[in-house]
Symmetry: C2
Subunit: 713 residues, 2 copies
């Protein structure tokens, strides 16, 4: 199985989800123990395949013949559940391999998560899985539940949920068993059914991303969820995320470690390697993964998705039962980028005819209490607003209606007859609210208690939808001809690993990829500098050229705006003196004579290496913006064109690019092109460890790389 | 009654809250109408005073004699409720005045909120209240409910709540009646009792802030809440907020209009004048007002406050039922500035002895499922952590316990025996959670469903507490001698209203208030400029001096770093030419010759006038930080010393002040002193409409106002 073949990886998981026979190694009759639970659950829920308990202590277990060893089972075994003590696990895995078992689920703990010898044991486990070509879930996991097959190969979950409205709907994968169990309960309470529930434990073999990819391909799963602390391979996660986008399966993740202290705790909690949370966060945005941070947010998303109407845009109509609530809701919409637009003239007229004089017909529409006595009025208003071509989403916020079925049914009718997303916010006495919410949700009309939850969920889905549309429309582009790649390869072949390239070398590489670079020449003497300046044209800039000096300005190694030969002569000498005293013994290769570029906005474009995701492209404004405010946009390589444009729009200081203080706006497509070419460089040459174009000077028409740094690994 | 006498204002509200007799003008027998409800509610809930229905159509109403007019009532009337049509209201108010009524509650709508003639009617209403010295609540309000007197002088609320755990606890004032009703229900469902509930309507007379102040003084109210769209007088709000701080009554407000569109809707919803939301937000911070945005947040705050233990610091201990939840909770704590600290060695040892091997003893403490079978174990762990001197707050997050009273009672015991704030987060099946939460909350042990809600509420209370401590410790300081005030008054007396002062005049004022200003002289010719430069010392800066040119750099009116007499001569001429061509006819008073200041961090300190709050002081970093990122801190005048320091720490770019790129940190106390003196100027001279010190150059030791602008009104 090659690292990169996702289809093969997905196929290899077939027997994890669809075993025809299961051996439970270490099966016990204690229903309170992990070793006792799968047999009970599989029997109770009528697993359709064969079950073979394995335990030398029993002849028979719950009416089934119990085998002393795996070997003793006369038939083929697709899956083995291992619930024995840690010291015996490796031996049994060897037996699994010999028996031709295709999927192994290891409940047992005591591996990488305890450190020391456990890490070695786990490595051996990984090796065995590779050698015998079986797939292994765990160790230290809670197993797998899969609803269509009644596959209860897990220990905490034992009862098929009742009263499920949407069966086989939600596929969930978790890196924390305990956490997964909570979510199982939370989601079940909303009457939403699971297609699969997978606890990946230490991930000695099967990774989080593979489960995501499997569920993306799976015919039943409609929404994918997960609790993650970190993935091992960013590349695999990248592929899985694109598979989910392609198949229109929204991925909703809870990821810990947003803050450093928490990240430390997460790293100690499992064996997963945790990269920078900022890169994860950027990646989620890049691939339309919805990151949630609360239970309510997750359930709201599931409820809206279960209704089957993902909002197609961000224009919101609001119906509220009081002016104040409407305003508060409009506030929330603004906070999350939803637009409370003007209703069409015609809509306003219709609403005016429907509602009493003291109501408000603008958006938010203030329904007043008139809807209570007047049968059908709420439906009429909701219908009129939801069919307004100006709006994509209808938000209804009401309260103090009690569980008034006549009213609630109007909302249900309006939602059912509308092609648009309708979400309800229900305020008031908590006990009454819960009943109203249940009544609506049971009819697939999403209802929640908090404005923020509704608005945040909608905002996430709108972004998901727009990201998916872009994904479907965008074809990968190559901005760089093959010849350029060969030329850069030839340059890099001359340079030893881990070297810092000179500015000249770095710029040569940029130029080869057709990234605009300021005109420049190297001068090894004051006289050469003057000659170069004449060729380039005055005024010029002089910069020290030394592989040992990274921060040139700090070293006094930069002189700007030199407009005469005399000034160039003086500057040359000063720079050499400054550089030598800044760092004794620094290798000085001369001075770079450069055209003095027009004033423009200074930006930075760079590459760095993330331990999980590999090359990451960074864009930001130059100077203090990056250093102090960390106002940068990140994307994982490879990038699409819209990724590049999104990066430019994402930074907080973006208004500077639109022109402040009378400056003209910069040429964003020129910047986007440089971002894409830099990303291409990172992709083509994994040996580039760091790259910095700082600054990229951006004017209204052109951009120029004024300085460049490349470090190899 | 003077504008500023808060005590008088509070006293004048006595009969609004404590009427001995009430006339209901327009009383009807229809229980569905506002005019029918107060009588029913007052009778049902045994109002202790006298009730006089007034309506010429009835002889008798609900067993009480009904009077044809107010005048016809033989006794004194403290309060009149007016529930008649709009056209008759003014006449009745006149009667109220003549009868000596002390408090009037006007339900009737159709005043300022409808615009046009309604505005005039309301003005007349205000005039009548002033003339006859009665206080008037409304119009367009829902009235007042006050629990100790069974005063139900309102129309939507009619039933005394049952099962209240904390009676007379929460005082609520609302600018939206409908909104208020929701909150009444929400809070009641938490078994928390209201001391007072006041709907202020259009505020023709009684303002939102007065009700806050009254409740701050009130012996029963322990927490004050409100829904506001805006206040009329910032000064009154300022006083009320300080009164509440003084009396240790936390004020929790929901304010709409955070975003511009919503602000527009809010302004149309009531007649209240809406200032900039940013100033409100700054003011809330300044005076420890807690701004909430959701129902859950408000109830969480009330529950924590009802338990009576406001957290004294931000150091948190976490007990969680799984590693994953602990990490997620630690993430949330970090987001809201709570510190998940290391537990004391001793605490860690104790926990280690209590819990099984695979648990985590660090903070977060991972309890594992060991707490379920082991009686008293959860209490022991909670007790050990909550008594750790390193922590101020204990957060417990558990799930899947069912309504296990044995377990819940341990949490209750731990909370009750701890001097510290203990808050529970309960996860899992919603229906089960609700029961657990109710069980805990009924014992005054705060419990909520979402981590964010708990952490945000705690963070708000920690800030409230620290703000209150500062308030109690800080004495007002005057940094400026009386003589300086007289001198500035003399300068300003020379200048016509609405004038823009020259830089020289502006700086003279700053100097008089002992704000450091760069050395400078005015020159009216190139020769004078050279002479001035000699006195000041080279290098110097030249700047155009013209009341018609505000943006000097843009006008080509600034030349820096001139180090010879020749350069000064040339620069002078250039500046004059540039300025004349930049704005034809500009009055040019010469050129300012200024010492060239050392490099430093450029900051801005300014004053602007808010329509509600009056003078507001602004602090920010110079240049693009203010313009593009709007990264500024605001405070309403007058300021305390800690306000000034908080402003400096509040800006996002504050790291720049701590020294970046090898620069030394700036002298923050020097900046704070300038902020305070500028605030003093704003307070002493209301005629200053705008003031800008831009830049204030800040070095490691000193600060200098390098440019200054003052505009009068």
């Amino acid at each position: 199985m090659t690292e990169n073949n996702l289809a093969e990886r997905i196929a290899s998981l077939h027997f994890l989800f669809n075993p025809r026979s299961i051996a439970i190694i270490g099966a016990s009759q204690n229903p309170a123990k992990p070793s006792g639970q799968p047999l009970i659950a599989l029997q109770k829920n009528n697993f359709l395949g064969k079950i073979y308990p394995v335990n030398p202590r029993y002849q028979e277990l719950r009416g089934l013949k119990c085998y002393p060893t795996l070997k003793a089972i006369p038939d083929e075994v697709d899956m083995a559940i291992i619930a024995i003590e840690v010291s015996a696990v490796l031996e049994v895995l060897e037996e699994c391999g010999q028996k031709g078992v295709k999927a192994v689920v290891v409940f047992t703990s005591g591996f990488a998560e305890v450190g020391g010898e456990g890490i070695e044991l786990q490595k051996e486990m990984t090796r065995l899985a590779k050698e015998y070509k079986f797939r292994l879930l765990g160790p230290n996991c809670m197993g797998i539940f899969s609803s269509r097959n009644s596959l209860w190969a897990d220990f905490p979950l034992m009862d098929a949920p009742e009263d499920i409205l949407v069966p086989d709907y939600f596929g969930f994968v978790t890196q924390s068993g305990g956490f997964g169990c909570i979510f199982y309960d939370v989601v079940k309470a909303q009457r939403i059914g699971f297609s699969h529930f997978v606890s990946t434990g230490n991930e000695a073999d099967i990774e989080f991303s593979e489960i995501i990819a499997y569920m993306a391909e799976d015919a039943y799963t409609r929404v994918i969820g997960g609790y993650m602390e970190g993935v091992k391979s960013g590349a695999l996660f990248f592929q899985a995320a694109e598979k989910a986008l392609e198949k229109e399966k929204p991925v909703i993740l809870i990821k810990t470690g947003r803050y450093e202290t928490a990240a430390r705790a997460a790293a100690s909690h499992t064996g997963a390697m945790v990269g920078s949370d900022k890169v994860y966060d950027a990646f989620f945005r890049q691939k339309g993964i919805i990151r949630v941070e609360s239970i309510d947010e997750l359930t709201a998303l599931l409820l809206i998705l279960a209704a089957g109407k993902i909002p197609r845009g961000n224009r919101v109509g609001i119906l509220s039962a009081s002016g104040g609530t409407g305003v508060l809701l409009a506030d929330k919409c603004a906070e999350y980028g939803l637009e409370v637009v003007s209703l069409a003239k015609e809509t306003q007229e219709k609403i005016k005819n429907l509602l009493p004089d003291f109501a408000s017909y603008a958006n938010p529409v203030d329904l007043t209490s008139a809807i209570v006595p007047e049968p059908g009025l709420l439906f009429e208003c909701a219908h009129v607003v939801s069919t307004d071509p100006n709006i994509d989403v209808l938000l209804i916020c009401f309260y103090n209606l009690g569980v008034n079925e006549a009213i609630l049914n109007q909302i249900i009718k309006a939602a059912k007859t509308s092609a648009k997303t309708v979400v309800n916010i229900v305020w008031g006495d908590e006990n009454v609210c819960q009943k109203q919410i249940r009544y609506l949700n049971d009819q697939f009309v999403p209802a929640v208690r908090e404005m923020e939850v509704a608005v945040k969920a909608l905002s996430s889905l709108i972004k998901y939808n727009s990201r998916r549309q872009m994904f479907l429309q965008e074809k990968p582009v190559s901005l760089v001809p093959l010849k350029a790649k060969e030329d850069v390869a030839a340059i890099l072949a001359q340079i030893v690993p881990e070297a810092k390239l000179t500015e000249e070398e770095a710029k040569q590489i940029l130029k080869t990829y057709d990234i605009p670079v300021a005109k420049e020449e190297v001068a090894a003497s004051p006289e050469e500098a003057v000659a170069a300046a004449a060729r380039i044209g005055y005024p010029v800039v002089l910069k020290i050229l030394s592989p040992d000096i990274l921060h040139k300005t700090e070293a006094g190694g930069v002189k700007l705006n030199l407009d005469t030969p005399e000034k160039v002569l003086v500057a040359y000498k000063e720079i050499i003196t400054n550089a030598s005293s800044y760092r004794t013994g620094a290798r000085i290769k001369g001075v770079l004579v450069q055209e003095m570029l027009p004033a423009g906005v200074e930006t930075i474009i760079g590459i760095s290496q993330d331990p999980v995701f590999g090359p990451v492209v960074m864009f930001g404004l130059g100077g203090i913006f990056v250093e102090v405010l960390q106002d940068v946009a990140l994307r994982v390589v490879p990038l699409t064109k819209s990724d590049a444009y999104e990066m430019i729009d994402e930074i907080k200081g973006r208004r500077i690019l639109d022109g402040v203080r009378g400056q003209s706006p910069v040429n964003k497509s020129a910047i986007a092109e440089v971002i894409l070419k830099v990303a291409q460089l990172a992709q083509d040459f994994p040996q580039i460890k760091e790259l910095d174009i700082n600054p990229l000077i951006c004017s209204g028409k052109e951009v120029w790389a004024a300085d460049a740094l490349i470090v190899l690994r």
